[in-house]
Symmetry: C2
Subunit: 580 residues, 2 copies
Amino acid sequence: MSFRLSQYVPVLDWGRTYNREALSNDLVAAVIVTIMLIPQSLAYALLAGLPPEAGIYASIVPIIFYAIFGTSRALAVGPVAVVSLMTAAAIGNIAETGTMGYALAALTLAFLSGAFLLFLGVFRLGFLANFLSHPVIAGFITASGILIASSQLKHIFGVSAGGDNLLEVLETLIAHLGNTNPITLAIGVSATAFLFWVRKGLKPLLRKAGLGPKLADILTKAGPVAAVLVTTLLTWGLGLADRGVSVVGSVPQSLPPLTMPSFSPELLKQLLIPAMLISVIGFVESISVAQTLAAKKRQRINPDQELIGLGAANLGAAFTGGYPVTGGFARSVVNFDAGAETPAAGAYTAVGLAIAAVALTPLVYFLPKATLAATIIVAVLSLVDFSILKKTWGYSRADFFAVAATILLTLGFGVETGVSAGVILSILLHLFKTSKPHVAEVGLVPGTQHFRNVLRHKVETDDRILSLRVDESLYFVNARFLEDMIQDRVTRDSPIRHVVLMCSAVNEVDYSALESLESINTRLRDLGVGLHLSEVKGPVMDRLRKSHLIDDLNGRVFQSQFDAWRVLTGAPRPVPAAAE
Amino acid sequence: MSFRLSQYVPVLDWGRTYNREALSNDLVAAVIVTIMLIPQSLAYALLAGLPPEAGIYASIVPIIFYAIFGTSRALAVGPVAVVSLMTAAAIGNIAETGTMGYALAALTLAFLSGAFLLFLGVFRLGFLANFLSHPVIAGFITASGILIASSQLKHIFGVSAGGDNLLEVLETLIAHLGNTNPITLAIGVSATAFLFWVRKGLKPLLRKAGLGPKLADILTKAGPVAAVLVTTLLTWGLGLADRGVSVVGSVPQSLPPLTMPSFSPELLKQLLIPAMLISVIGFVESISVAQTLAAKKRQRINPDQELIGLGAANLGAAFTGGYPVTGGFARSVVNFDAGAETPAAGAYTAVGLAIAAVALTPLVYFLPKATLAATIIVAVLSLVDFSILKKTWGYSRADFFAVAATILLTLGFGVETGVSAGVILSILLHLFKTSKPHVAEVGLVPGTQHFRNVLRHKVETDDRILSLRVDESLYFVNARFLEDMIQDRVTRDSPIRHVVLMCSAVNEVDYSALESLESINTRLRDLGVGLHLSEVKGPVMDRLRKSHLIDDLNGRVFQSQFDAWRVLTGAPRPVPAAAE
């Protein structure tokens, strides 16, 4: 492979052909996304336990860095719900919300995530994200949505509460319900109801009024902005902040500051595992969005380069007052629907947000936290989808079991335990499935050269020949299984003179399995029974040739099961000399 | 399955046909094994850091319990080298050698091991032991042998030393070398040299003198007894104990006492993981010996029942002053060679040892510890075998890497770290191998109905048809890989009208992979390309039928790749309607 700089810095690719039309499309998209991002960024900062401006800062430099290094043309990078929750969970045990230590830990977490993502990208380790199975991700996102929504209830009621799992959150909430502020509750409930209505009822209404589907969609997405405007004006006009309604308060009017993460070894050690989990979850979320959008325009996403793009974005967040970021679903879809053509749209959004950070921050002083909580609740409840339980139950119990455990453990013990358990469980279930492989006794489908399971198909067999199709790679976890099975089969059925292992499904034979095959060979030889192999694949045969098995084999290696059948049944037709 | 008591208590099976001839054969074997076991039991107790009588006690009741519940006819259960070392490592951090707490922890460890083995046996979980691959076990045994031998050097030099890993052991040894007792060293070195000579040189000599091979073998195995007798007499006769030679000292003259393990939750928690590791390692060692010996007489070993037998043996050890036990290689081979026919031989050995415990213990007062150390060193160095490194290097780098890591980590960080790392590493390497599966483009081998890799064989192909044989089960770890690969292949080669996935090597399609296949199907449909499946196996097809994939498939499911080829190339011969 030759080195091309543009491979690592995709901006060099699309930047060359950037023209006026793309510019105007990107600008329109940027304006729409900026308006949507202002309340969202404030809300997610609240969820992460950080001051509101951290959400804005985390949307500026990261989005530019991603525009330079990322491969998706529509992905919008910034704070997202699940990563914000995971940030709160990771830092919550280390520092008190609102302290300098908390903000510093958030920067450090972003730094570690960025470094880890870059490391994975540079060493092309993106496939590691595949260890998270689709059902585990779906279960995790659903459970996180519930956790997030319940963690925001305190803002709706205007009380204090906390905790890392559902039980703690609800317990502390209920304990404080006596202090509920009725005005806050009224704002919170009406904002939530309004936003749910916008999501479900407004769009059909707008369509009926004659608006195009895209415009209707974008106006619907602007619902949170309306809620923010109305409740802020009300709070300001009626002086509700003095009557106990918790508001965002003063936010510094400034561009993102230059910040430094902490390099204290102890803090780095404490945050390393959370940072790795956040990186992987963030990457998986981001790449799913990017691939979905790219497929619609027949564009390609390079997973390893995405790691580099997201890594750069997180490093950007770490040095400019942010916290861990990734590609968000809602904002990316809005960006795409609004017509963004290149990552430059993201850069313009960053400019928009920078202007907002300098000029508009005083306007959010009277924005009630209950409104932000309402936007979070409505956004994350759309992530909650238990249908994965039903789907996996119908298809595969092992997958169902992994999802159910992920959901229960995430709700019961928090995000880190939940997602780790999901990964470990899916790996163990997979190994368990391969430990007792399906082995079919096969016979010839009449009139063909094709062999199928004797129990499922009407096939020809021969008493003297035991043809076994082993439906699994042979490796240490199942090596002994085959040994025991053949021993059982051959000592039981005395007429057998030949055992043929049909290896069409054997994709690997590791050293443990090689020893098992050697031992099977020795035992069969002692019994005067031949051991033959058929349909051994190229890569497997290459490896077996390095061992003594083939030389010592008490039988032959046949190219196809049909060749084996012809030779061993003594069929009349000539067969060429056995060769792989 | 019907319940038969004799399935769980094999003694009911062989006990019915027990006759005079078996009795006399078993008695002869028992006498020989008893003589060999006396010094061995004392030595392994020393290695485990326990008083010498613990080794004798651990050989009495456990051997009887195994005789009742075990399935091997020749296995001799008792203390073995590796398990003794692991016991010392597990307890060393909890209590001081020689204290009551140490002995209590040993009983508790035996109790936990027994309970865990019984649990595995009753729930038929014996296959879990397969997670230890053969190369990892070989590497672990080799490294343990080195650790054990080096830990005994202190007794040869007559100094104190300790540590859980090779570096610590050698460091503390060298630091104390100044205190070497020259008489002890003389005894230790001559005993070691004598035993090595017995092992290598005596047998050919005895054969030349006209002895039969079996008798020569048994006499050779009696070497340690001779060393014990001579050095004990010397020490007693010359009063060497007063000149600084460390001796076994007074051993209580008693049958195994009735003891209780501790049920302190804290201690149980501390010992749980070590007990699990000891159980699994002990089980693997024991079952390999049992299967090797059973195969020689065409007998069968039932792994799950073996777990029950070993579990009972360990519980027996826990309640009669012992420590963790398992089936030992050396003693079992001697038992087998001496002609043991049934597990009753083990019971007679137990009687012999019980007599020894009551009558002979005063005789070992003057037995030098250096002699015991010499027997251990000579025994374990026969376990050290680095050839596994060479064998795996030639066959499979992944296996080599797992062995090398196991050896280095066991030597460098002790037995528990070593074996855990070996298991985890082999699993990760396996997953890694399956994450980027081999996918072969196949074509028809002329004159047959057989399809092989276009790169390895001269085959017929058709530009419009892309036939891919996926050489791996499709599951979450590699689900996305296939999606990306087909996307790449089809957008690149425009003439392709049909993609046929030949599924002969696909043994599983999990939910993540199902989603990937659905997404491949959608994308290919958008491109106007058909997606077909061929040679889908019964169990996989059963599952796919539960999903929407087959209904929505933008193509057909063919029983064989040849059917697919005939239909898609428009070959003249008729094809029956597609059915799995």
